[in-house]
Subunit: 197 residues, 2 copies
DNA sequence: ATACTGTTTAACCATTTGGTTAACAAAGGT
DNA sequence: ACCTTTGTTAACCAAATGGTTAAACAGTAT
């Protein structure tokens, strides 16, 4: 592993755990097992190192989502595939959602410009398809954007608010993991169940 | 308004926007229109000022939720009332969810001790009731905790991830507000629709 | 061997930041 | 009037923090 990779991985860990403001360059250096000056040698400054980490994180999500949203499947199949693959992915990267959401709120202008730069989940195709299936009588009449929001909410929220969830419904780490496994299928079932005619 | 209140309100604004690590004592003082030394005169240090703000924020949520969860209503009525009143409340405090979630992740030990101190939404009664209504054939057989998580997800997530949502489904501030108004009723409908027999 | 290149480090620096101090003002009690 | 308590401020301080520098090191070509 190159030094740059060591730094990047360390930065990912520290930034995702502490956020931009809470992360310390020294802590990243320690985590990477190198000198603090190397951070600046490889990544100029904190802001740029952060951007590298953030864009990488966000960049992993968008294409995956778009691939499913823009496929040839039916709406029901897309919902099933999306929830399953997204939850599977986030189980492996449990800090990602909260990280992205947090930094998006703290740094909206930067993120928005990055998103409008093409690198963004684009649901327009799916929305049109939902409207068509409503017209065809396959799906009950609902607001497509609300449906999308429901899907995102049920898949992402449990991870973004992991601590809160564990505290509220009183479950251990392992119980949480079991529930997330179950959600790989239950979320899609729940949603489809409520919108199919 | 007393000086202490001015500080508290200023602190609430700054902490909710920047988080604990990102907030600056000077900025809070400026926002309150007083000298920085007053912060320490009234609230000892940053940690304690933050705790005051956080506990107040969290303390507003818990009792409201418990009142509904432990009432004499049916499960369907509880879901309807909860989503409606929670969304109404959060529309007036849109920074609250993200703030609570963020600081919970960054400071789990503190929050957990605070929650276990009684000050916590307690869903045990509601869970038992859901199990009963399943046994009675009113509700389809589902995992009650998953149902709770679905409810929390659909109500809280759009506010917690406000920026992300606006960017993803491409809506303006006013469209967002309209959607949240609509969600006061649509969320409960969606959920009840999917679980009623 | 020597010079040259990119890599890595220890020591250092400037600024920011949370926090303190000491003086000052305003109010209240005697 | 005078003293005590409470509220408020400007100036200051020590630690933390992001960032820089100059020297050492390692590999490579000459």
């Amino acid at each position: 592993m190159t030094t740059e990779e060591k730094i990047f991985n360390a930065a990912r860990i520290v930034f995702q755990k502490k956020g931009f403001a809470g992360a310390r360059m020294q802590e990243i250096a320690d985590e990477a097992g190198i000198n603090k000056a190397m951070l600046h040698y490889c990544f100029k400054n904190k802001q740029l190192l952060f951007q590298a980490v953030f864009m990488n994180a966000f960049g992993q999500l968008a294409p995956q989502i778009n691939a499913i949203f823009n496929s040839q499947d039916t709406v029901f199949d897309k919902i099933t595939k999306f929830t399953h693959s997204y939850i599977s992915f986030v189980i492996l990267n449990p800090y990602l959602p909260q990280f992205v959401i947090q930094e998006m709120n703290n740094n909206p202008e930067f993120v928005m410009s990055f998103m409008n730069n093409g690198n963004r989940p684009n649901p327009t195709v799916l929305i049109a398809q939902i409207e068509k299936e409503i017209a065809d009588g396959i799906i009950k009449p609902i607001n497509p954007k609300q449906l999308l929001l429901d899907i995102f909410s049920m898949t992402i929220f449990p991870f973004a608010a992991q601590m809160m969830v564990k505290g509220m419904i009183q479950i251990s780490d392992s119980q949480f993991n079991e529930m997330m496994e179950e959600r790989k299928t239950s979320v899609a079932e729940q949603i489809i169940n409520s919108i199919k005619k």
